[in-house]
Symmetry: C2
Subunit: 298 residues, 2 copies
Amino acid sequence: MDWGDLRFVLEVARSGSALAASRTLGVNQTTVIRRIGQIECDLAQRLFDRQRSGYRPTEAGQRVVESAERIEAEVLALARRIEAEQRTLKGVVRVTASESLANQLLTPAAARFQERHSGIAIQIVSEDRRLDIARGEADIAVRAGSRPEGAGIVARRMPDANWTLYCSRAYAERFGHPRRREEIARHTIIGMEGHMASLPPPLWLEAAAPGVIPRLRSNSLTNMVANLRAGLGIGMLPVFIGDDEPELMRCIPRVPELDSELWLVVREDAKDAAHVRAAVEFLAEHIRAERPRLTGEP
Amino acid sequence: MDWGDLRFVLEVARSGSALAASRTLGVNQTTVIRRIGQIECDLAQRLFDRQRSGYRPTEAGQRVVESAERIEAEVLALARRIEAEQRTLKGVVRVTASESLANQLLTPAAARFQERHSGIAIQIVSEDRRLDIARGEADIAVRAGSRPEGAGIVARRMPDANWTLYCSRAYAERFGHPRRREEIARHTIIGMEGHMASLPPPLWLEAAAPGVIPRLRSNSLTNMVANLRAGLGIGMLPVFIGDDEPELMRCIPRVPELDSELWLVVREDAKDAAHVRAAVEFLAEHIRAERPRLTGEP
DNA sequence: GGCTCATACTGCGTATTTGCAGCATGGCTT
DNA sequence: AAGCCATGCTGCAAATACGCAGTATGAGCC
C-alpha cells in the first residue's frame, strides 16, 4: 500500500469528483482514478461509490479519509517545522497580523526596524485565516482578543485597542448622529460578520439596539471603513483606524468597556533566536509607543 | 512532496543503510537512494549524512523520522481497522492468547465450537507480542495478569489460574523435593524471563529464595516444562499445565496467593456482531467449565 | 597486513506510470 | 424540452521511474 495514495483519497473526498481533485493535485484525471483504483485493490475494499455526478466515499472510505486527514496534518506540521527552521537559519523573521493591524502597526514598524537592522529580513503576512504560530507558519503575530492559548507559543500583553462608534460627516449632517448609547437604536447599524462579530465592541453595539437586525454586515474592518465612508450607517471601529479617516467622526465619548486586548505572540522555538528576539523587542516597543493612538487617550 | 517517500526515510533510518532498507521495502537499492534524494530536494533539506558505512539521519532527518513514525502508526491502525471489518463481514472470529493458554483452552474450545457453529470460522493466533485488540489485530483475547486497560476493549473476569511449584519425579527421587516454602532455597531454581517474570508466581518463587540467582531462566512456559522434565530443577507452572504432565509432580500444597487473574477481552467494535458474541459466550462458558483444572481444586 | 564483505554511486535497457485526446452519459440551466 | 457542462471511462504515445550490472571505496575480520 502506497501512502501517497491516501492523499488522492483525501482530495477526491474533498472535491467530490476525480476531475476536480486532479486539478488541485496537479495531475491528470485518469491518474486520480487509477490511484484510487490501486488503493482500493490494495485494501481489498471499495472506498468510493462511482456516480455520474462524481465519487462519493463509502463508509469505509470515510474512515480512510479521517486517517488521511490526520496524516495530512502531520505532514503539514512537518513541512512547516522544516521551513521555519530554514527561515531561522537564514535570519528571516515572519510576522503576521490581521490586515488592519498589519497596515497600521506592522508596516511602519518594519520600515523603521529595517533602518536599524538591515541584516534581518522581515516578511509581513496577513491572511484571512489565522496562521498557526505553533506550527511555524509565522514567528510572530499580533492578535486582538483574549489571551491566545496553546502549546508552543508565548504571549505578551500590549496596550488595549479602544473601539468606538463612527459615522461619516456627511451622514451626521444629513441624519444627525447618536450622542449616547440610548440613541443608537434610532439609526442604521452596520454590523460585523465572521470571527470579528464575536469581539466585545460589535456585541456591545448589537446589545445597544436590541431586536434590530443590521441590514448590512462587514466581515473586515477595511470593508467597514468603506461602508461608513459611503454614509451607509453607523458602526464600530478601533480608534486607531477610525481616527485616521478624515471623512469619519466619532459619535460618542470614550467607553472604557470597549477596550479590546492586544497580544504579541511569539513562537517558542524561535523566541531565543537573536533576530527574532530583536524583532519582538522592537515591535513591543513600537506598539507601546503607539499607545495614544490605540487607546484614543493622550 | 510525496507522502510515500516518508516511508523510505523511515526505513532507511531504521536499517541504517539504503541497501538494507531496499530489502525490507522490496525494491532496488538505487530506488531507495533516488527517493531519499527526491524528498531532500522537495524539502530543500538534507536528511541523511552519506557515509561509506551507510545513511545516518541528520538532526532534521531525525524529526522527519519521528513524523513518519506517527504516520506509519496511523496507516497501520487504518489497515487493521479495515481488515477487522472485512473479517467481521465474512463471519470470521480471530482469537489470540499466549501459546500455553491457546493450546490448553482455545484449541479444545474451538473444536467443540465448530461442531455447534459450523458457519463461523475461528482463527487462533498466538504470537510473541501481544496483539493489539483495540486496533483490530484480533477480536478476542485471553490474557493472564491484571485487568487489561485501554480504550476500545471490554474485559470480563474468568476463573483464576493457580500456579504451584513443580519438579520431575526423577528429580524428586534423586534430590528429594521441597515440601514447604522454607525448603525452596536449598534447591536449584528455574526462573522466568521477559514479561512473565513480572507475574506474581515467579516473583513469589524468587522471594522464597532471597539472594539466590537462578542459573537457568525460561522465557516461555513450554520451555519451562521442557526444563522441568529434563530434571534441571524446580520451577513454577500454572496447574492446568503442570498437572497435565505425567512426568512432573507438585512439590507444595496449594498456595492461594499464587492465583493469577485470567481475563477474556473483546474488541468493543466487534462485540455486538452475532458471531463474535457467540464465540465469546461459548469461550466464557468453556473456560468456566474448566475451573477445576485452572484452580487445581475440585 | 591482507582479505572479504557491505555499502554508495553510475550508465543503460526495460517496464511502468502518466498524460492526452476522444467518447458516452447524466444532471442542470435556460 | 433542449442544449450545455461536468463527469467517468477507454486506447495510445510519451515520459518517467525502475531494476540490473558493474565500479569504487571503506570497514571489519582473520
